[in-house]
């Protein structure tokens, strides 16, 4: 019994994917470590002028050498590299620079990122899932109905998929929040509200959530609908659907076969969409002041807070790699050719 599990083609498939994503993680981590080494000057020199107005040369040097040893930047490259890997493997991402503002002391990077994680995931996961199901349903329906409706759906889905998300978000704020007054404009909570775990706070956050969600959702909905419609038209043209129609199958029945085949390429599309969505979410977070990881990373870039930037980028990479892995495995389950290892 055990033996058959290990030799099953699906296990082999999963192992291959695990190895691939381990290598991707290795490449990504090395990239994250080595690229900032090319910055001219050291990150500390950006930090000290923010600390005080005037200081003498000796004081400057003293503060500088203190910071260098505090953040471990005075060690040779190899030691820092080892330390970097130790940090990754223990899950401790080091400490961020005290750049002022919300981060006025060397806050551990993990502590800065963790509270932001739910906000990003709350945008990414629902947008991806709902747009996938609804978009594919619309696309399949449009291909099934055909004629004028199909063309109309095609036109709108192409148009909505081409909208630049950051601009579309601004237009939504302009029309729905400012002109119509339906939603609050930006931010994640009404100014002055004290956060608490109660229904009123939840509804307030939910109301602020609507516009960022919509501006991402409508764009991705169009993408899925366009893809599914053309895949469906392609499948409806193929031999097995024509044959089943000639055998006298009901149209719904033969369509259900076509849908099963049309959805497979859409699943591989999830990977590409996820990678694009992570980036668009970062932009939408910045535009709407939504406190996710993209926003945090952006603020860190403006503050030149390098440990925080690296931490945010790492977490984004972890989300993307884990998401890609999950989708690949899911694809293996759904595609019978991979599941059984035949065909």
């Amino acid at each position: 019994m055990m033996k058959s599990v290990f030799t099953h083609p699906f296990t082999k498939f999963v192992c291959k994917k695990v190895v691939f994503y381990l290598i991707v993680s290795f490449v990504a981590l090395n990239f994250v470590f080595f690229i900032p080494q090319f910055i001219p000057g050291d990150p500390i020199s950006f930090l000290i002028p923010r600390q005080g107005a005037y200081m003498t040369r000796e004081l400057y040097e003293q503060i500088r050498s203190y910071y260098m040893s505090y953040f471990g930047l005075d060690k040779p490259l190899f030691d820092r590299y080892i330390n970097f890997w130790r940090q990754i493997l223990t899950g401790d991402l080091g400490r961020s620079f005290p750049t002022g503002g919300p981060i006025s002391w060397p806050l551990p990077v993990a502590q800065a990122i963790l509270p932001r994680l739910p906000y990003t995931l709350a945008l990414v996961i629902p947008v991806l899932l709902i747009s996938f199901f609804l978009g594919n349903w619309i696309g399949a329906k449009a291909a099934f109905v055909g004629g004028k409706w199909s063309e109309l759906v095609y036109f709108f889905s192409v148009f909505s998929n081409r909208l630049p998300s950051f601009w579309f978000g601004m237009i939504l704020v302009f029309l729905l929040a400012i002109k119509a007054g339906l939603f609050p404009d930006v931010g994640y909570m009404t100014l002055g509200r004290i956060p608490a775990w109660d229904l009123a706070t939840f509804i307030d956050v939910l109301r602020h959530y609507c516009l960022p969600f919509l501006s991402l959702f409508i764009i991705y909905l169009g993408g899925w609908a366009t893809g599914m419609r053309s895949m469906m038209i392609h499948e409806m043209d193929s031999g097995y659907v024509r044959y089943s129609e000639q055998l006298g199958f009901r149209k719904n029945k033969s369509m259900s076969y076509a849908k099963r085949n049309a959805i497979l390429p859409q699943f591989t599309g999830i990977n590409l969409y996820l990678n694009a969505l992570i980036g668009e979410t970062a932009i939408i977070e910045i535009i709407f002041g939504w406190p996710g990881i993209g926003r945090l990373m952006y603020d860190a870039v403006l503050d030149k807070n390098s440990p925080l930037i690296i931490g945010c980028f790492l977490i984004i990479m972890v989300i993307v790699i884990f998401g890609n892995f999950l989708v690949d495995i899911l694809y293996g389950f759904i595609d019978p050719r991979i599941r059984t290892g035949r065909g």
Binding site: P164, W167, I278, E280, V301, C312, M317
Partner: protein, 280 residues
């Protein structure tokens, strides 16, 4: 092929709009005011004097728009062109050789495909503090090509089984020469389509970077994204930017139009070049 293209309504319509936008980008900057000059009255709504109004810095929005179109097209050309080159290099040569070279190039493609482009560009924007338009285009070209390489690869895999390629191989032609003289010319149309999509992707990526302020320097280089960024930046917090709608609506509108039209152009070409879809 060309006659078929000229008969495709999508292609002709798309081309007409693209050419119009290109004309705005080429002729516009020659006849409008200096887009960086800040000597006009501020916050003027659109009028005959200022076709699209003026910004809160006292710049002419129409002048910025035209220069922005030109710069966006430049990024599209650079990012699309270089991206296509990478896609062909990694997609065509490896898959034609097969075996080890194919595995390697496919692996590189897959690894880069997993990298999320915009956070990566945000990260690189931190590393490269001084960014010119050229540099931004280069970064986008370096990160945007993997899906195109996959498309090219699948195309080459089907082409290399054809008779004329076999014939070239039997007659003792070198692999590199075969790819360049036999395989690539036969997929020129396909590569052109990949270029069109990559250029559209480069334009939106640059606009996205600029719109959050990590694109090219906004005081030296007016781009469509930079206009949106300036509009937000000058009126931060509660969206005061909505009061000067003539500042941020036109760049996004042009961007949407350009991208939609690029897609329509691509769809038109697809219908002509792809025998499965051929209707014209």
């Amino acid at each position: 092929m060309l006659e078929l293209l000229l008969r495709s309504r999508k292609f002709i319509g798309g081309l007409a709009v693209v050419v119009t936008i290109i004309m705005f980008g080429i002729i516009g900057p020659m006849v409008t005011r200096n887009p960086q000059a800040t000597d006009l009255p501020r916050n003027q709504p659109p009028s005959w004097e200022y076709p699209l109004g003026t910004t809160s810095f006292g710049e002419d929005v129409f002048a910025q728009l035209c220069t922005g179109i030109r710069n966006s097209l430049f990024v599209g050309l650079l990012g699309g062109g270089l991206g296509t080159l990478f896609a062909v290099l990694f997609g065509a040569l490896g898959s034609y050789k097969g075996g080890w070279a194919d595995e390697a190039s496919n692996f590189v493609t897959n690894v880069i495909m997993v990298f999320p482009v915009l956070p990566l560009l945000l990260f690189l924007a931190y590393v490269l503090q001084q960014r010119s338009l050229f540099l931004v285009g280069l970064l986008i070209a370096l990160t945007g090509w993997p899906w195109a390489a996959r498309c090219v690869r699948s195309q080459v895999l089907s082409l290399k089984e054809r008779e004329f390629v076999n014939l070239a191989r039997i007659s003792g032609m070198k692999d590199r020469t075969t790819v360049i003289t036999e395989v690539l010319p036969n997929m020129l149309a396909y590569i052109l389509m990949v270029f069109v999509l990559l250029a559209g992707g480069a334009i939106i990526a640059e606009a996205g970077m600029s719109a959050v302020g990590v694109g090219p320097d906004r005081f030296q280089c007016a781009t469509l994204g930079n206009m949106i960024f300036s509009a937000i930046q000058y009126h931060p917090g509660v969206p005061h930017w909505s009061y000067i709608w003539w500042w941020f609506i036109p760049p996004g509108l042009v961007l949407t139009m350009l991208l939609s039209v690029i897609f329509v152009l691509h769809a038109g070409m697809d219908e002509v070049f792809n025998p499965r879809l051929r209707r014209v």
